[in-house]
Every structure is written in C-alpha cells, then in structure tokens.
C-alpha cells in the first residue's frame, strides 16, 4: 500500500528581520531605503525532514518548544509553503485547530454551519446530509436562526466543534493546543479522537502530553531544532524524549535590567531531578542589594501552563536575607507532590512580609513534567480534574 503521507526532505527557512513591525508600511519601506541594511538572520525552522505515514497509522510528533512541530503542521495544511522538499498527501487533511474558522457573527447558526463546513472543505451535499447530525451534536437547535453574535461563547464553541467533528478527513491533525477550552469541549475532543482512531483513520498527534501520545499512537517522530532526531515505536521515542527532557529541565533566567528596587533578583537557576512521584526541584536565586533594606525572605509560586497557581513554597518563614551589595545565592530544595504532566512555571517573590514586596518576578523559569504520577495510567489527565494526584488506595478490598 502506498503511504498516505510522504514527506521528503522538507525544509523551511525564515528570514528574521530584527526590529520588524508586525506588518510593513510604505513609510518603513521608504525609511529603510536611507538607513543601513537591516540585520536579517536566516533561521531554519525545519531542516531535511523526511518520513512516511501509512493509512490507518496514528503517529505522534514529539519535540520541545521550537523543535519545528508547528511549522511542520503549517506546511502540511498548506498555509505556508516549504522552502525545499516535497510532500505527497493522498487524502483530505483536517486539523482540529481549524475549529470555528470563518464563523461570522452576523450570520445565523444555520448559515454558519454551511459557511464553516465549506471552508473546512466539505461539499454542499455533504453538509446537507449531515446537517441534522451536526445540529444534534451541538445542541443548538433552538437558536439555529439566531445570529451568532447572540450565542454564548460556549454555544459558539459547541457549534464549531460539531461542524469540525463531522468533517471525516482521511488524515486528522491534532495539536496539543486542543487541551485548552472548557471541560465539555475537551471531553468531546478526546472522545472524538478515540472514535476517529478506532475507525481506522490516520492521525497525526502533536503534544507534550506523553501519556496521551502513548495512548493514541503506536509510532512517533522526535523533532529537535528543526531536525528529525529519531523515528520509531512510541515507547522508545517517548523514553528518548524524556531522557532528553530531564537533562534539559534546568533553566536559567536573568533580568534585562536591574530595576530600581532596593534589592533585585539577579539570576534564577532551576533543576529538576528524580522520577514520579518523587521529583525534587532545586532553585538557586541570586539576590543583589542596591541600597539599604530590611531583612527579606523568599517564596516561590508554581503555576501551570495556563497560569493557574498550583503550589506555593515558603522555605523560611522569617526574613533572613540581609543587605549585601555583592549578591548572595539562596539555594532552595522543593519536594514536588505528584503532579499531572504539564509545563509548570516558577515565580519568585522577595519581600519583608506579605504586604511588603521588594521584588516579584513572575513565571521566570519553567520545568516540564511528562510522566504520569499514576503508574500505568495510559490516558491523558484532564486539566479540569486537578493538578495534584495524591497517593490513594482502596482499603476495604
């Protein structure tokens, strides 16, 4: 059987223009005629990536931020052309990112179903045939002839997803961005993925959530800095990614300018060690005093990928950081509770007491947890069910 997707030596180059405005204007163009040549830098978002996907396969695309996953998806959905290489697609590609594209606030629900369906690539006859099903799925039959602007955002999302869910593409691309949205939306998306998977469609799954990838896919592709690092069975690739990720789970941050507070945070370094459920986070904060100040203490907040605070670590309850213009490094060890896979961000606070903040640097360093705290769990954790997974057991069995 011919592969449903053949990716041959795909590369994508971007020219990064420093100090580039979001869009050009004539004035900029004119003024750049007189100024010296702007510094442009070549950046290869993808470099010589090749792989094949067979019909019915579910393949995970794994990689750290900036590995080229999004660029690959953009090229696959033909939004942007590759710089080199060739891709052969044998079938219709749809991406769940396209949900709701082309919705118009002035059109009614009924009209939007047709418009959106058509933009997503459905034929008129196809939309007609599935119309009742779509309306049923969305649960908006009462408002079919009401302009979309009077819908609640939840209703709009339901309608959008209902259309996308009835698209029946040969290849479905699922991006991790999907993980946001309300609980119902997430549940529906996950349910849809499983049905699509069972129906033998080809799936490309892009995610940071290793548990979800492990559950949905049998094979995976590991991207790193635009290059295809490895391709193989899912368990091997996930292992390789995690090994690489653990090594990389140490980050450093420095402020752009010292700031004008009496004491400021000069540097934060972070390191994550261990395995679930015994992760230890070590944070080294370097504090420099610029002028006389009271004794201070330090605290860390840890929030999830969408910015919801999850943990607060207060290593020392009494102010202890004395004035020191040479700078001092406070090393803190935080024992993390079992947490679900996500990217967590650390904020650092220094102050004399609760109402007397000296310096509060928000979400300066991040670490990633990719392993599920519940051993053997092979389906993704939902953000809506909580982030900390305490040890639990049945005691009457």
């Amino acid at each position: 059987m011919k592969p449903i997707l053949e990716v041959q030596n795909i590369s994508k180059k971007f020219l990064i223009q420093h100090q580039q405005l979001p869009y050009l204007s004539f004035r900029d163009k004119l003024s750049s005629l007189f100024s010296s040549k702007e510094a442009t830098e070549e950046f290869w978002a993808l470099r010589d990536v090749s792989f094949n996907i067979q019909p019915g396969e579910s393949v995970g695309i794994i990689g750290r931020n900036g590995a080229g996953k999004s660029t690959l998806l953009k090229i696959l959905s033909r939004i942007t052309p590759p710089t080199n290489g060739r891709i052969t697609v044998r079938g219709r590609i749809a991406s769940l990112l396209e949900v709701g594209t082309g919705f118009h606030q002035e059109l009614t629900g009924r009209e939007n179903i047709f418009m959106n369906g058509s933009i997503l690539g459905m034929k008129h006859s196809e939309i007609k045939a599935k119309f009742d099903e779509i309306v049923d799925f969305s649960g908006t039959e009462k408002f079919l002839d009401t302009p979309l602007k009077h819908y609640s955002s939840g209703m709009q999302l339901r309608l959008a997803f209902a259309v996308a869910a009835h698209l029946e593409p040969e290849i479905l691309i699922i991006d991790e961005v999907l993980a946001v949205g309300d609980a119902e939306f997430q549940k529906k998306c996950l349910g849809k993925m499983e049905t699509v998977n069972r129906s033998g469609k080809t799936i490309l799954f892009v995610s940071h959530n290793m548990a979800a990838v492990g559950n949905l896919c049998k094979r995976a592709i590991l991207l790193d800095k635009g290059k295809l690092l490895r391709e193989g069975p899912i368990t091997e690739i996930i292992h390789e990614y995690q090994v690489a990720a653990n090594g990389a789970n140490s980050y450093e941050w420095s402020p752009k300018s010292p700031g004008n507070s009496a004491a400021y945070l000069n540097k934060v370094a972070l390191n994550l060690r261990g395995t679930q459920p015994n992760y230890t986070l070590t944070v080294k904060s370097n504090i420099v005093s610029q002028s006389a100040h009271k004794d201070l203490f330090i605290a860390y907040d840890i929030s999830n990928s969408v910015g919801i605070p999850i943990l607060q670590a207060i290593p020392q309850l009494q102010p202890f950081i004395k004035f020191s213009d040479a700078g001092q490094t406070i090393e803190t060890e935080i024992e993390l509770p079992p947490m679900i896979p996500d990217q967590y961000k650390v904020s650092v606070w220094i102050g004399a007491h609760n109402a007397d903040t000296m310096c509060w640097e928000k979400e300066v360093v991040a670490f990633e947890i990719s392993e599920s705290p519940a051993k053997g769990r092979n389906f993704p954790h939902s953000h809506n069910n909580g982030f900390i997974v305490p040890n639990s057991r049945i005691i009457n069995g």
């Binding site: 869009y23 033909r78 052309p81 060739r86 891709i87 594209t101």
Partner: protein, 277 residues
C-alpha cells in the same frame, strides 16, 4: 466516504501560473464566500438590497438637478438623467468591487492563517457580490428606460451592454486583486483607495462627459481609465453621439493590462500571505 482520495503535492513556491483547475475544484467555496458577502452586507437593514437601487437613483436625481438643470451640462445625444444614471450604475459597481476586493484579504486574514484554499477566491467573491448588486440596480435602470422618452437601439444593446459589463468586470478584478495583495503588505493602501476613487469619479464620464471631442494629450491620459470604455460603450444604445475608437481601444487595453498585472502580482505574493497578514 467511498470517494477515491485526492492526491495533493506540497512543494516550494515556484508556480508559474494560476492553478485554474484547482480554482474550479473550489467553486463551492467560491459560491459560499460570495453568498456570505451578500448576506452580511444587508443584515439588519430594513430595505436590504433596495439600497442598491436607491443609491444610484438618488444620486441621479441630485446630479440631474445640479449638473443637468442648474449648470446645464451638455450631454450630446442623450438626456441628462439617462446619462447620469447609466454612468452611476456602472461606476458604483466598479468602485464598490475594487474597494471591497481590496479590503477582502485583510478582513479574511484569520481564515487565511488557518486554512488553505486558492486565495484568489476571496477578492473574486467580493467582486462577484458587487456584481449581484449591479444586476439589481440594472433592473431599476431598465424599468426607468421604459418610462423615460429615449430611443434605444436594441441591436446595439445586445452587443454593447455585455461588452461593457465584461470590461468593468475585467478592470474591477484586475485592480481589486492587485490592491488586495498590496494591502496585505502595506496597510497604507486602505487610505489611498477611498481617495483615488473619489478623484476618479470626476475623471470618468459619469456625471458629465469628460472628453470634448478634441483629441488632446490629456484625453488620451484620461482614456487609460478602464471604466472610460465600459461606461461609454454602455451608453451607445441610448445615444446618437459617436464614440472615438482610439480612446476606447486605449481604455480596453488598459483594462486587460490591469487584469494581467493585478493577477500576476497577486500570484507572486499569494503564497506568503499567511506569513505577512
């Protein structure tokens, strides 16, 4: 689905011409975009599509009063109201389609960034939506001709009206696509368009005859306007005045040149719209 799959090749941007076959395969989307543009335009209006008739009608009445009666503008061989009405109908189509097509790519940027389809559909459907307006306005004009004492040459009408519509369409598509692509890159053109359209209104024989029969250099320059030929040809069945074939030819050439250049510029920038928008 039992349909056989379609094979798509994704390659670097080096296409030399428009893929008209692909454009044809997207005809349903083309229809939906046009349909949406028409629908949205008249949402929450009481009179709806009647505005298309009322606009040229009132403008014709105003210009007839000031230009025709007060200033006594000479429109040889054709009554002033017929002269103004015919010019206004075609000009309204041209200016609204060029303006809408020009803005269309920027307005639809959220869609362009997420989904692939031949980008040309967007400005073309804007022009097509304006064409529907033209048809509606034309019906009022035909009704008007029945009641207004003017002799019409039926044979000339069958020949020159379709020609006039085709020429306006060619000019509108060419300029519209060119502007749509330019506007994605330089938002400045949003301001340029409305200004140029206002000036062009008075440089086109819409409410007064621009040419005076003396073939000066200025007249040749004015004939570069694609709408010069379209409007002049449109009036032939109702007038006894003779038209100048050289000026018409210049205008027709300019129409087709703008179509070629416009489409070519659009094609060249099309692939990078998603990165620019």
């Amino acid at each position: 689905m039992n349909e056989p799959y379609t094979e798509t090749i994704i390659e670097p941007a080096n296409r030399l011409s428009f893929n008209f076959k692909e454009l044809w395969s997207y005809r349903e989307l083309f229809y939906f975009f046009t349909w949406r543009d028409i629908k949205v335009k008249y949402k929450q209006t009481v009179l709806g599509v009647f505005w298309v008739m009322l606009q040229p009608l009132f403008m014709m009445l105003i210009f007839t009063f000031f230009f025709g009666q007060r200033l006594g503008v000479k429109t040889e061989g054709i009554p002033y109201p017929v002269f103004a009405f015919s010019g206004l109908i075609l000009w309204n189509f041209f200016s609204s389609s060029v303006t809408n097509a020009g803005n269309s790519m920027v307005l639809n940027a959220p869609i362009i960034k997420k989904i692939y389809f031949p980008r040309l559909i967007i400005p073309l459907s804007s022009v097509l939506a304006s064409l529907v307006d033209l048809v509606v306005a034309l019906m009022l004009f035909i009704l008007f001709l029945f009641f207004y004492p003017v002799t019409i040459n039926a044979l000339e009408l069958v020949i020159f009206w379709p020609l006039a519509f085709a020429l306006s369409l060619v000019g509108a598509v060419g300029l519209g696509c060119w502007l749509a692509a330019l506007m994605i890159k330089y938002r400045d053109f949003r301001f340029v368009v409305s200004f140029v359209m206002q000036v062009a209104f008075f440089l086109t024989p819409i409410v007064y005859p621009v040419s005076r029969g003396s073939l000066s250099v200025l007249e040749y320059i004015l004939a570069l306007n694609p709408m010069y030929a379209a409007i002049t040809l449109f009036r032939i069945p109702m007038t006894t005045d003779v038209v100048d074939p050289i000026l018409i030819a210049i205008s027709i050439c300019s129409s087709f040149l703008s179509l070629l250049l416009g489409l070519n510029y659009f094609r060249k920038t099309e692939l990078f719209f998603a990165d620019l928008a």
